[in-house]
Amino acid sequence: MTDFRQIENNLKKEAKRLLEAGEVAVVLAYGRGYDEKHPMPFAAKAIAHVESLVFNEYCNFNMARYLMRYPWGTKIAIAAKAADSRAIIQLVQEEKVRREDLVIMGIPAYGMKNQKTNEVIDSKTTGGLYNPVIYDILLGEEIHGQKIISPYEVLAEYEAMDKEERWAFWKKEFDKCIRCYACRKACPMCYCDPCFIDQNKPRWADKAPQSPGNMMYHLTRFHHLAGRCIDCGECSRACPVDIPLYLFHKKVAKECEEMFGQAAGMKLEDKPALVDFRVEDSDKILE
């Protein structure tokens, strides 16, 4: 079991040090919520804020989501679990944030839990990783020896469905959508302003929460995130009607990895796969 207490202590210590030394202007991490199960994303900007920092198994939020609120040049320390670190890498690739502006406080963790259901979500969310891909400071010891779960294992069941069954499954799920857009709000990669779905020119889809518009919104969003989704699972946890969006994103991520030989947010020097190509890409991918 990850020693959450130790991480929290280290987090406070490092946050204090960085703020004190003036190395960063803000620390993006987790703060106390209305109870232990509901920590909040928190931006500590003064030493006085440091005491409010927490870390426990419910700290799922992908803090990379909040990086883009600050202009380039703002020095930011960010608490990054495995998935957060991948989001950071992806955002650096896309030049939304600059690596040199960041102090990444890596958090190796397993046993993270969904605050709604209390189930352990490691296999669903971390892209098969427990340790951050990139960090400057480590707030806990690197995790080794823990069972590695393939991030795509959960897909097997859905891939095995026949197409009619799968269509029925997704149709039912997407029909539930109330178009609250919590998914895109939670997503660290959904930074478009305006989002295509809010536009009138062109009007890609109906805005009412009905089947055709829902379908268009979600399918297009999957495409926009193809090769970019870093599998944090925040969209699904944010969804008030529990649409398992993470499954679809995982499937697209798996296909992209197989077709293009790279996973999102793993290497700073990669280019996002869909705005890149290799001459030797095979036509087989179109079959």
């Binding site: 197409k163 997704w170 890149d276 179109l286």
Partner: protein, 143 residues
């Protein structure tokens, strides 16, 4: 009455559209279910065009571009290949029949290939029957 599918074609100006013209000049007959939209390059194709076409009632969508390496814009179709591959995977995972969406590289000199592909694709769509999954039933729901 037998099922006459509606098939949307999106063809790049330099290769496939010209190839389609060549099929005409050489009087190669093929089924009339395909309606072609001309774009300058296969890379112009926004994946949402394809999702939308299925919503608007297309029973099949056929995209045609220059052979990789021969793109009029050097590398346009190399990007298109990746983007359309992902489009295909998304449609498949949503539960649409994989055979309804197809990408073919047809050069300006391949009039006969164009005719053959249309022939084959139309037969395939007829086999699959009407596309009802994504199609919007009531007209007013259209955007």
């Amino acid at each position: 009455m037998s099922f006459e599918p509606k098939i949307l074609g999106i063809a790049c100006n330099w290769c496939t559209y010209t190839g389609a013209d060549l099929a005409g000049t050489t009087r190669l007959h093929y089924p009339q279910n395909l309606r072609v939209v001309r774009v300058m390059c296969s890379s112009r194709i926004n994946p949402s065009f394809i999702f939308r076409a299925f919503q608007l009632g297309a029973d099949g969508v056929l995209v045609g571009g220059c052979h990789p390496g021969d793109c009029h814009y050097n590398t346009g179709n190399l990007y298109a290949r990746r983007r359309l591959a992902v489009t295909k995977k998304i449609l498949e995972f949503a539960g649409l029949e994989p055979g309804r969406f197809r990408v073919e590289w047809i050069s300006a000199s391949e009039g006969n290939k164009f005719a053959e592909v249309v022939q084959e694709f139309t037969a395939q769509i007829k086999e699959l029957g009407p596309q009802q999954k994504l199609k919007i039933e009531q007209l007013q729901e259209k955007a």
